[in-house]
């Protein structure tokens, strides 16, 4: 029987699995987590007893739907929890699983690999107590912990306000919410934002609730530095307000994030070609608009294909599965594809007004990193060393710069430093961002224990 594999069990992966099972196909679903949900609908370990409304707020119903859907599919899929794909060669995935290393052949592959925060380094960002916005959310949802007693939320994007709201609702003393995007940008984006309907209203609600609690909200800011206390942990953050005046806010933790970036390494290793997306400022795996990549049998879905949010991820997960079914000769999927395409097109205007309008990425902040600022937190490479690789060693694209400086060569494989490094390199060279290319995916895409190589793979 042909092998159909889904990588990821977040909103996109779950809907893809559901669609395939309904069509009588039994997919293998590979999940890095111990239980489905992805990051957005992350579930705590089973020993936690928590009210879903407290965990997911407005999204409790949707999260519950997702969880129930996948739990009900469990007998109809081969589910591999706690399993990480670390390489893809030809039509074989190398996977570290609970029971050891495995090689998995696929005939059809749906990549629903999700996204993580897009990071912009600023002074003090490697101090203990500084986390990504997504990380701050994971701490709360998955572990019922706050990242500190008095956190500040800084960066930009819808997640900034959502995470801060969730913390405030959990009783945490949120000190400030500091947004690099100017208020005027949000006003200009308003017509497009309103096309988001319920999603837009939720965002507005979070902002109003934060304001009603008396939490400081500032827009058009620039982060300057996280200040360490005597014990080397976070004691406060220095920032410039929209008029350039220096402000200081005492805090014991910082959540920082500047939108999301897609996890694209596996598509890369599968040989899918990439195109530059000027809105997301990232190279993304190319697809035909229905999730078909340009490698036969590979389909792309969810935020790992392009960041469009959880609701769109469910739709694009179902769409990738229907495209797969259509390609297998199931003509009835054509109608579903048409309907899904329509719904996804409707959400597109809202997404663009979020990404390009209301919460623009502060590329100048990333590009303007001070020479002594550590950009690569794995390998301790500074912005100055990166610039030197341009001036003295003539690095004209990211992979050359990586070879010269070790930036992006560490354990995270450039997931964290990649976006900022590209901005710095482009600025140093005086070329557009797309001209510096992208860090190539390299196996292992996640660290693997040596036993994965030594034990001899079994399938």
């Amino acid at each position: 029987m042909p092998s159909t594999v889904i990588v990821g069990a977040g909103p996109a992966g779950v809907r893809a699995a559901e669609t395939l099972v309904q069509a009588g196909i039994r997919p293998t679903v590979i999940d890095e987590a111990s239980i489905s949900g992805g990051q957005i609908y992350r579930r705590p370990p089973s020993v936690f007893r928590r009210d879903p409304n407290a965990l997911y707020g407005f999204e409790a119903k949707r999260a519950g739907d997702q969880h129930r859907t996948f739990d009900n599919l469990r007998d109809q899929v081969d589910y591999w929890p706690n399993a990480a794909v670390w390489s893809a060669q030809g039509r074989t995935l190398s996977v570290v699983t609970e029971t050891g290393p495995k090689e998995l052949r696929w005939d059809r592959l749906i990549l629903a690999t999700g996204a993580m925060d897009r990071v912009v380094p600023f002074a003090g960002w490697t101090l203990p107590g500084v986390y990504t916005l997504g990380g701050a959310q994971v701490a709360l949802k998955y572990q019922a912990c706050a990242i500190g007693e008095h956190p500040v939320f800084i960066g930009t994007g819808p997640l900034l306000y959502l995470a801060a709201y969730q913390y405030a609702a959990a009783g945490v003393d949120v000190r400030a919410v500091l947004d690099t995007a100017p208020f005027a940008a949000k006003c200009r984006a308003l017509p497009g934002l309103m096309s988001g309907g319920r999603t837009f209203l939720k965002g507005l609600y979070y902002v109003l609730r934060l304001r009603a609690r008396g939490i400081q909200l500032a827009a058009g800011i620039r982060p300057v530095a996280v200040n360490p206390g005597p014990d080397g942990t976070v004691s406060g953050v220095v920032w410039h307000d929209r008029r350039g005046r220096e402000k200081r806010t005492a805090c014991d933790a910082l959540a920082a994030g500047f939108g999301l970036r897609s996890e694209t390494q596996l598509a890369d290793l599968c040989g899918v070609s990439f195109v530059f997306d000027p809105v997301q400022r990232q190279w993304l795996p190319s697809q035909d608009g229905e999730g078909r990549a340009d490698i036969e049998g590979v389909y792309l879905a969810g935020d790992g294909a392009a960041v469009k949010g959880a609701d769109a991820a469910e739709l694009s997960g179902a769409r990738a599965a229907h495209a797969l079914l259509y390609d297998l000769g199931r003509a009835e999927s054509a109608r579903e594809l048409k309907a899904l395409n329509r719904r996804l097109a409707r959400s597109e205007r809202f997404r663009r007004s979020l990404e390009a309008g209301a919460f623009p990425f502060p590329a100048d902040l990333a590009a303007g990193a001070a020479d002594d600022l550590m950009i690569c937190r794995c390998e301790a490479v500074t912005a100055g060393e990166l610039r030197k690789s341009v001036c003295e060693l003539k690095a004209t694209e990211l992979n050359r710069a990586k070879a010269f400086t070790r930036l992006g060569m560490g354990r995270c494989q450039g997931r964290v430093c990649g976006p900022a490094a590209a901005e710095i390199l482009a600025e140093s060279l005086g070329v557009p961002l797309e001209a510096v290319g992208r860090l190539r995916g390299q196996a292992p895409v996640k660290p693997v224990p040596m036993t994965a190589f030594l034990d001899g793979a079994v399938s």
Partner: protein
């Protein structure tokens, strides 16, 4: 600037504290965690950092908490490396903030 009176750990529990307690050791000190904690949570509810950075010794306490940034690897006393944010704590674990080789 600065805040007085923060708890000893970096992370602060806000709910679900009615779980069974688990004992583990960190750099030889006997500490307590709750069942269902990740190693990261277990350490950071007791401490402000969980490892020292290889290149300059600065303290690190994880970053992305979702298995992507790889900044929270710690070691067991037997040398086994564990990603703290995605591995659940088990009773009796003996964890080290510096590598088992002391590096």
């Amino acid at each position: 600037m600065g805040l007085a009176g923060h708890s000893q750990g970096q992370l602060r529990r806000v709910a679900a504290t009615d779980r069974p307690r688990i004992a583990f050791t960190l750099d030889g000190a006997l500490l307590e965690a709750l069942e269902g904690d990740t190693i990261l949570t277990a350490i950071l509810t007791n401490s402000r950092y969980l490892r020292r950075f290889e290149f300059n010794g600065e303290p690190r306490a994880g970053f992305c908490l979702m298995g992507a940034c790889q900044d929270c690897w710690v070691r067991q006393s037997d040398g086994m490396a564990l990603r703290a944010c995605t591995t659940l704590i088990e009773s009796g674990m003996t964890l080290l903030t510096r590598g088992a080789d002391g590096g």
